[in-house]
Symmetry: C2
Amino acid sequence: MRGALRRDELLRATVAVIERAGVAGVSHRAVAAEAGVSVASTTYHFATLDDLLVAALTGAAEDLTAELHERVTELGARPADELARLIEHLLVYRRGRTLAEYELYLQAARRPELREAAAAWLQPLTEIARTFTTNPQKASLLVAALDGLLLQSLVRARPFAQADVAALLAHLR
Amino acid sequence: MRGALRRDELLRATVAVIERAGVAGVSHRAVAAEAGVSVASTTYHFATLDDLLVAALTGAAEDLTAELHERVTELGARPADELARLIEHLLVYRRGRTLAEYELYLQAARRPELREAAAAWLQPLTEIARTFTTNPQKASLLVAALDGLLLQSLVRARPFAQADVAALLAHLR
DNA sequence: AAACAATCAGTACGTCTGTCCTGGTAGTTT
DNA sequence: AAACTACCAGGACAGACGTACTGATTGTTT
């Protein structure tokens, strides 16, 4: 069972490769080089590339869920401002990671086996939205808007101003 | 100049390949096979794969802009319902195409030369939002929400119910 | 300590890839 | 009609790819 560490390291390396080169850049060799191991080690733990991508997606979804869940509890008296700060965090200090997550997320549109993991992605967002507004329709709208704001910011490579985001979100209380 | 037709056909074939196999499935050979021409014909018009992808993205953005612009004028007395109908159209009758557009859109996050074309993508959406509400902040929020709703629907492979979407959007008037 | 299974380094094979090169063909220009 | 140019078919090349195979190594079990 000593291989579990190696396995986790390979998943970490996979996400690192995606951050740098996108999902298209993922290959057994690229991941092995990133992790500093041999190709055989990657094919041993993940026989096919598909296995590797699926494991990377589900792992990343779990990580994000855990991280966001932690931040939910910190949402206090000024949730719009704090949400805006969270968005900026995801777009600036974790831009590569966030972009990788969106690429993996979009993969789920083509791979039914990823759909469950992708759905899990929205759960912490929904949780955040629920603390923001009690109206369930507004909460759904907020989740969609957060998704769209993140996506647009990634593409324009320039995050919106924090204050503007906060003002925007305030419309959905 | 007779090659212009062939060039357009190659771009159409490229989008068709993306619909079927994603951006990752695009290769000179796959596009040539889809268009029923030789590989040399694709490399003649688009020397590198990058050229092909960039041209496909900008072309798709122009197509969508033209199409959505047409639909803007049709938005009448019940814009929420009609927006919901438009969303369903993009997700059901044009699902493959919409998915391809999102894949290309996300490419822009990594390729600065695509950023302009990607930005053009949002323009018709913004236009639609402006006819929906006069408040510019709500309009921005609506564009983001539309983006998020489309993305989420693509991933869950099941569009939201039209009536629910209409009810959601009504909150942003 | 001996047998075992998990783990991985090294290597190999067939396939697909991007891109280039050599011609040939068919419209255009002079 | 002759020269020219745009276009594209066919094939070639080196490289990267997924994946399978062969042994070594190393921790675990008996």
